[in-house]
Point group: C2
Chain length 598, copies 2
């Protein structure tokens, strides 16, 4: 008894410690932190900060917010994720997709850049935080599975195009009106392109060229000259920072903001992020709810897929529900410190991973460096041209456009390809949020459509075995007066008619048949509508002197049939455990049976 | 060669004659019409006409149309269906549900009874006709399967309540404003009931009492006294006609229309239906499209379920697509002759069947009698009180309320019961059209929901057989280091995570397991998202020194896996035709295999 109590207490202790570890993942690495982890964390933290500082300002611009909103969103949220996230290498912060979604939602309620708009961005971050946190607590992490790969792929490619297109106005120095349609936007760009600012365009294109050079050819050249990876990565990943530095120098040196009308970032307040309290007013909250829901799901989806893919490379695990909680906390942090919605992004996470991040400390180091930036370095960013930020965004999202995905989807399944194309087209034509809705609906509709046209196979015995396979695909033997048909789908209201059609036709095609055995090994459910159809079908067959049997009915289905009185009605002796038993019984005593039944 | 040609020509002739018979079903009975069929057809035709004349006027009133619209809709459409329909006993014409749907749709565009309203009813009939005809031609008859039994049942019961409630204003002699909500309507009725017309109410209640007496107790009394069915049926089915006659006499005798403010039918034009040309204007057409679609589907559903059930009792067949064509022609006929949308109804079809209708000629006889009525008898209907028509409708729809359906659905499947209740509630709260949309969506959502939580079973060998069943349900033997799991659902994006969870957990629960066999006998498809999950899962298991195998993969699924390169990646030797073969191979050479794989 005493020892039982002890062991049960220690079991409790273990369980409660595992609960703590589940909700406070930093307990798994902080108490046992090793000095050898620190090297990787420090390097990764610094390099991600170098990428993040220009990117966060660029994405803030994409979201219609002042640059400091991006920087503020890159401090507290990162530290919170570092402590509460289950991925040790995910880099959280402003990302392109969420920024665009935020811009779409917010610009319906206020003009970009205005104080009301900035205040609504805090409300949006708060809503996303609450939603993600709540979804994590009630374990809705699985919901993200409703975004199928083809839908996500079509969505990502189209969103990348929409994001790149949204930056053309900065690149060309044009003023364009907002539109959710990619095509309408491109139409505007083409018609107004004669009014472009040539200097802005030159600056933007030069930035793009430099960014592409640094990320591709330079990396290869350095590699060929034997520069080790630990040195090469900081050099190539600093590309955006170099471009930012050079373009600031150019604009400042030639005073291009005055002489050529180049739009610059301007004043960024110096100092740590302010503590902000989102103003909760029901009309704006309810107007932002759909956007918040989309960001919660899409942001989580982007984040979890990166986190999972990185974790699996190091045989680590991420917990979808705890990830939601951590992202929720990060967004609540963004709402409280002048930021806007954040999530885990692809490119910075990859860099964090490859430069050796071992724990959440890397994220905390990044956050510290961004904090130092807003404390001391913002005056240096005054002359940063918007065209350069646009160039950074365009280069970042260009890699998201995946043309091969369509080809792969097409090869595997035409309906996968169709839902990819539908999502892609809907995002371009109607905008991000409608597009993803169309995508999810189309994927579900295609799935349902397939279930309404079930595959059915007439089967025969493989050799002398107890195994039965499709007569069209395998060398099998059949019994002339017995038709064994395998139904390859659950039976429900939308496909019951198909069962009726196929069975009736199969019996008509085999006039000698006296017995039909429906093999239910792949029938995972029979709903009441389908059951009614089945009852009618059995009556029809009996009228045509054909007897009906079932084989390999699964346990859960059998329970239902029993409850509904179907088993008593059909007769227990007409339901066989296996196809083998059914065909043995019917093959032997067929004539007697058919005579009796007449 | 020559004889080949001859036989091929005669085959062609047979085929073309069968095509003619398919699209012109009267060719199957008219050329070979027997005198003995005529007796049944004549009796059925007369009795249905006796029912139809008061009912058609009542349903026209329900649809917000003058009584002649109901009579006109009972002439040409019936004759057309009689010729083109595949059911020999279906009685087409105005029915309650379609009349209510028409009223809901039309009253959004014009005030009931006004010329514009009557003109729009023709447009609606035209649209329904075109839609049904087109759906039949492109063979969309299967679409109706998306209305599951529970949804249809909840819908029918709620619609019956809504229809009965809509007649309370006639019964009570009140003026109520239109509302799609049953609850709002009842609220109005209760609040205004003090202003009821007592005479109208007395007339209505007396009509209801008489109708119930004739249909129930009288029938039983006559039966007890030995009155034969052929005499009893005309007597009991003439109930509505008797009620109509008595109430006309009463109103005329006491001049109740003036002395007591009883609303009467009034002037009905004498003469055959006018030829009418619906006026096609895009705004009204587009506004009527949703209503037309709902009527097309709901009307077809009501009609085909009656037709199928009657046909199966006489071992006849109905063709869903030809039924659509015939109903489409009937509605086009209604549009061209001053009617409104029609379909095959339950009660008159039952009477048609039981009184002995043998062919479509019965319908044509009914049509002829209604034509004689509008030619000669309409002046006699002047004093017919609306309260009596309301009573006829209420008694007719009361039998549609099926309380037992909920209990049956609950017993069979909780989600069936849930979608029944949801549909019922949505029809009452938001009206007929929204309600049916909610119903279909909920049924599909429940189906999808179930597929996201697939049943999975660890299986073992049944005795010495080659058959494997769930270890929790059957006496089976298992091999300790081999885990055979049967997945009872197709794998797709929305349930791939569940496979991952269950398999990972099962392996964790069985620490001695070296081999996992996934039995795919119930996996009818694997989409690209699920395949990717599977690939990751296999890698994870391999990292934990557990090898993965597939068994009983179906042909169509195997083709896909091959195309996607999955088969080569997993290794062909890891895919077994049967569970038996898999367990024989793994049970024998397990230690060697697991050593090799480490």
């Amino acid at each position: 008894m005493a020892s039982d109590n002890v062991s049960s207490n220690s079991a409790k202790a273990i369980r409660s410690s595992s609960v703590w570890r589940r909700y406070l993942p930093f307990l798994t690495w902080l108490p046992s932190y090793q000095r050898q982890d620190a090297v990787g964390d420090l390097l990764a933290g610094v390099i991600v900060a170098i990428m993040l500082i220009p990117q966060s300002m660029a994405y803030a611009m994409l979201a219609g917010l002042p640059p400091q909103a991006g920087l503020y969103a890159s401090i507290v949220p990162l530290a919170l994720y570092g402590l509460f996230g289950t991925s040790r290498t995910l880099a959280v912060g402003p990302v392109a997709m969420v920024s665009l979604l935020a811009a779409t939602g917010l610009s319906q309620l206020a003009a970009p850049g205005e104080p009301a708009y900035i205040a609504l961005a805090l409300v949006l971050a708060l809503l996303v935080g609450v939603m993600q946190f709540a979804m994590g607590v009630v374990r809705l992490g699985f919901l993200v599975n409703f975004l199928s790969h083809p839908v996500l792929s079509g969505f990502t490619s189209a969103a990348a195009l929409v994001i790149a297109a949204s930056q053309l106005k900065h690149l060309l120095g044009l003023k364009l009106s907002d539109t959710p349609s990619f095509f309408a936007l491109m139409d505007q760009v083409i018609r107004q392109s004669p009014a472009s600012n040539g200097i802005a365009l030159a600056l933007g294109l030069a930035s793009i060229a430099l960014l592409i050079y640094v990320r591709g050819p330079l990396d290869r050249q350095l590699s060929r000259r034997g520069v080790p990876g630990t040195l090469r990565t900081p050099m190539t990943k600093a590309g955006p920072l170099v471009v930012v530095g050079l373009s600031i120098l150019l604009v400042w040196g030639f005073q291009l903001d005055h002489s050529a009308g180049i739009k610059i970032v301007g004043d960024i307040p110096t100092g740590l992020p302010p503590l902000t309290l989102p103003v909760i007013e029901w009309p704006s909250v309810s107007a932002l709810l759909p956007t918040a829901l989309t960001i919660s799901l899409v942001g989580f989806m982007e984040s979890i897929s990166v986190a999972k893919s990185l974790a699996s490379r190091r045989r680590q695990k991420v917990d979808a529900n705890q990830e939601l909680i951590a992202l929720g906390l990060a967004n609540l942090g963004a709402a409280a410190t002048g930021g806007y919605p954040v999530t885990g992004g692809f490119s910075r996470s990859m860099v964090n991973f490859t430069t050796g991040a071992n724990t959440g400390l890397a994220s905390i180091i990044t956050a510290g460096l961004v904090a130092l930036t807003v404390l001391f370095l913002t005056p240096w960013l005054y002359y940063l041209p918007q065209a350069t930020l646009a160039a950074i965004i365009i280069v970042a999202v260009a890699s998201l456009i995946d043309v091969g995905a369509l080809q792969r989807a097409w090869r595997y399944d035409k309906t996968d390809a169709a839902s990819l194309v539908l999502t892609f087209g809907a995002v371009l034509a109607f905008g991000i949020e409608t597009g993803i809705g169309v995508g999810v609906a189309s994927a579900l509709a295609f799935y349902l459509w397939r279930t309404t046209r079930p595959h059915m196979a007439i089967v025969g015995r493989v050799g002398e075995s107890e195994h039965f396979r499709n007569v069209l695909r395998h060398e099998v033997t059949t019994i002339p007066h017995v038709l064994a048909i395998r139904m390859d789908e659950s039976l429900y209201f939308a496909n019951a008619y198909a069962l009726e059609d196929v069975l009736t036709e199969a019996v008509a095609d085999h006039p000698g048949v006296r017995h039909v055995v429906l093999i239910c090994s792949a029938v995972n459910a029979i709903d009441s509508s389908a059951l009614e159809t089945l009852v009618h079908l059995i009556e029809d067959l009996r009228a045509a002197h054909v007897e009906f049997y079932l084989a390999e009915v699964k346990g859960p289905v059998m329970d239902r049939l029993q409850q509904a009185g179907f088993v008593d009605r059909l007769g227990k002796e007409r339901i066989f455990l296996s196809t083998h038993q059914a065909l043995q019984a019917l093959g032997a005593s067929s004539d007697a049976a058919s005579t009796v039944n007449r």
